[in-house]
């Protein structure tokens, strides 16, 4: 690939605006558009009730929406990834629950997933790079979970039981397999799509 991989290859030596993919106005607009479109996609997919199975207190299932955040970060860098998660959860909460939770702190933690994934460079045509994408997504989600729990415990004053049982565990048991598995699939599909329609 290509433009994506070429661009990412150059990242190591970039300054911050370029690393965030906002080095020039056009690039900044495209990055923001990616973030907003990603947020919209996240919101739509997140609103679809997904099957799950409880084994004792542990929830197992898949949440394909989380991988949207990661893949947007992988495609367009940390800012777009962050916006996808941050705006996506805010939009979801606003549209479907008419609320903004805890001054958007939970949304901030979701943004961290896209931000972390967007820090590295990937070649979507190579299995090894996609494996790296899975790994970075998993790392990003671990940070998301930990930050969400810290906010819940120390800002919202939730009980430990709730934060561990209803936030941390599901993010690990549902979120981790979702970002590890779905993100490379989305990335590969994006690579196929973008190789036919060159828009960036």
């Amino acid at each position: 690939m290509t433009e994506s991989s070429d661009t990412n290859t150059d990242k190591m030596g970039m300054d911050l605006p370029k690393r965030l993919r906002v080095g020039d106005p056009k690039s900044a607009i495209i990055t923001i558009v990616f973030g907003v479109v990603g947020a919209g996609l996240f919101m739509l997919i997140y609103s679809i009730p997904m099957p799950y199975t409880m084994v004792s207190l542990i929830k197992f299932g898949l949440s394909p929406a989380l991988a949207i955040i990661a893949v947007v970060g992988a495609i367009r860098g940390p800012l777009a990834g962050f916006l996808s998660g941050y705006l996506g959860l805010i939009m979801y909460d606003l549209v479907f629950s008419l609320t903004i939770v805890s001054m958007t702190l939970p949304a901030l933690s979701y943004g961290v997933l896209g931000l972390i994934v967007g820090l590295a460079a990937y070649d979507f045509t190579k299995g090894r790079s996609l494996a790296k994408l899975s790994l970075m997504s998993a790392i990003g989600l671990v940070f998301t979970a930990l930050i969400a729990v810290v906010f819940g415990l120390f800002v919202d004053n939730h009980s430990v039981l709730l934060e561990l049982g209803f936030i941390l565990l599901p993010l690990f048991t549902v979120g981790l397999p979702s970002v590890i598995l779905f993100t490379p699939i989305y990335a590969r599909l994006w690579q196929v799509f973008s190789s036919r329609i060159s828009i960036i």
Partner: protein, 546 residues
């Protein structure tokens, strides 16, 4: 081909694992919404969306409860997982009756033995006595097994003379928690089935309460009644707003059913004022109890904080009045019929103070807002489920759904092999949560509220056509009611196996219409008419003289 697979090994592997995990966790899927539609019959348009409906899951849960209730002796509790909760059996029996009363009202035109038998059996299960069932009885679990309860007199608890009233009886005058629920179950039974078989016993309790809260029980008028609060204790020494909300609501319903005037006479006025002035916190929200008498057994060596008697129940951990989200939600739900001007303005504040957001789509209620990180005990769970019901009554469906998601998204739905029954499996937390959450999930989502059920059915209702007999085990009745304005019977039904339905009260031969097209006349059987349906889903309009 091989080259493509080779180039995409990782993605294909991820895809295959996704399919495997997805397949292994493919459970708890939402049941599709029931079909509705618009039909025009003889120039009259019937929009099924205009009529209340039950969902497939709600009916499946009621089928689960039906087996638990009618499928065993009145005093046995197989499948309830209540071995450690005998004290709670009367509550779940009573509240489940209110759920079922709402379900019955949704399908007011479906009055086969299915609904009636359930409601009647619940009343019998609530009233198991020591005389008949010994220690495996409601009388024992709820009252006699609690040390000292049968010994009480008022005002001198343990050394009575001629001026003291015996208050240690299971059937009153003090045990409003049982008498209130028992009477309301009977009142709702009469409201929904109109047999008159419960009227005499129901009337006894209404009259007895009236004596307790307006006299000294020696024949003399006394403001505030025997206990001077206008309220009746649950335990012999303490009155609660939530517990008294049940007999207050029952009295309203009784007046409506029998055209009496107990509420107009001011029977509960003193008590309602007492609640607002003495059983509320600084925000006007209901608190958890007011002591009218020193409980026997409490002494100077008690580890509990000082408790003024008489006086508002104290929170022994953090001081101030004892708070409870479940008690407040319960009281607000039932008192809304009588004092909506008091309860409705409190609702937003109640949600603000007790409610906590876990995420955008999940909320829970604190047991007490004084301990914001305390969730995890039974009080928080009860507060959450009772507030679901209150939110549904208030039309705050967003809050209701967010509260419902707390446990609804963390429990497995367990379907019976034949697909007729379903319950939420609460066993990872506590097995008793299974019937509790299953019942509240229905109560909080049906389109008929406690407030709705306080109104009686019009006299002419009992002449409306209705399903009087049916092969209940073969059908799912989502909507069944007579529309008196359009003179048509709405029937939205799924049939698993060939089923016969018998309709009563039609004056003329009725015709069933599907999609506005006649399916033919119903078959006369004596003064009734029968309809036989083959397996499938039907949205029927049944009209006579067509």
């Amino acid at each position: 081909m091989f080259e493509i697979i080779k180039q995409n090994k990782y993605v294909i592997t991820a895809f295959v694992i996704t399919i495997i995990i997805g397949g292994m966790t493919f459970s708890n899927v939402q049941v599709p919404a029931i079909p509705k539609g618009i039909q025009t019959v003889n120039s009259t348009t019937f929009n099924f969306a205009d009529y209340p409906a039950l969902t497939h899951e709600q009916i499946a849960i009621m089928n689960y409860f039906n087996e638990l209730v009618t499928g065993q002796a009145y005093n046995t509790w197989e499948g309830w997982n209540a071995e450690n909760y005998h004290w709670a059996l009367q509550y779940i029996t009573a509240f489940l009756s209110y759920v079922f009363a709402g379900v019955t009202e949704v399908n007011s035109g479906y009055r086969s033995s299915f609904y009636e038998n359930f409601a009647h059996t619940q009343i019998l299960r609530m009233n198991t006595t020591i005389d008949e069932y010994g220690n495996a009885s409601m009388e024992y679990y709820e009252w006699v097994s609690i040390p000292g309860f049968t010994d009480y007199y008022y005002p001198n608890a343990t050394h009575p003379d001629a001026d003291d009233v015996y208050t240690g009886g299971f059937r009153g005058p003090a045990n409003i928690m049982w008498t209130g629920h028992y009477a309301l179950m009977m009142a709702l039974y009469e409201r929904n089935f109109h047999f008159g078989t419960m009227t005499e016993e129901l009337t006894h309790y209404i009259k007895d309460w009236n004596v307790s809260i307006t006299t000294d029980r020696f024949g003399h008028h006394k403001d505030g009644g025997l206990w001077g609060t206008g309220l009746i204790p649950c335990e012999p020494y303490v009155v609660f707003a939530q517990c008294n909300s049940i007999p207050i609501y029952t009295t309203e319903l009784y007046d409506n059913l029998y055209e009496t005037h107990y509420m107009e006479s001011g029977m509960w006025d003193y008590g309602l004022d007492f609640i607002e002035e003495n059983i509320t916190d600084e925000y006007g929200l209901y608190t958890n109890g007011y002591f009218v008498q020193k409980p026997v057994g409490w002494g100077p060596n008690s580890e509990l904080l000082p408790q003024d008697i008489p006086g508002q129940a104290v929170d022994h951990y953090v001081g101030g009045p004892s708070l409870s989200s479940y008690a407040t939600a319960w009281a607000m739900t039932f008192l809304e019929y009588t004092v909506p001007e008091e309860t409705i303005p409190k609702y937003p504040l109640f949600i603000d103070l007790y409610g906590r957001e876990l995420s955008g789509d999940i909320m829970y209620m604190l047991g007490t807002y004084k301990q914001p990180s305390s969730f995890g005990d039974i009080m928080g769970i009860l507060g959450t489920v009772f507030t679901m019901v209150l939110a549904n009554q208030r039309g705050d469906y967003t809050t209701r759904d967010r509260l419902l998601n707390l446990l609804g998204s963390m429990l497995n739905k367990v379907w019976s092999p034949d697909g007729r029954q379903m319950y939420y499996d609460g066993s990872p937390f506590d097995a008793f949560l299974s019937p509790i959450f299953s019942g509240f999930s229905v109560w909080s989502t049906i389109p008929v509220t406690v407030r709705n059920l306080g109104d009686p059915r019009p006299a002419e209702f009992w002449n409306y056509p209705y399903i009087s007999n049916a092969d209940d085990d073969n059908i799912w009745v989502y909507q069944a009611r007579w529309d008196p304005v359009k003179s048509g019977f709405i029937l939205n039904i799924r049939v698993d196996q060939t089923a016969e339905l018998v309709f009563s009260n039609f004056d003329d031969t009725p015709t069933a219409f599907s999609q506005g097209i006649s399916m033919g006349d119903l078959t006369p059987t004596g003064s009734d008419y029968s309809l036989t349906l083959q397996p499938g889903s039907y949205q029927l309009v049944i009209m006579e003289g067509s």
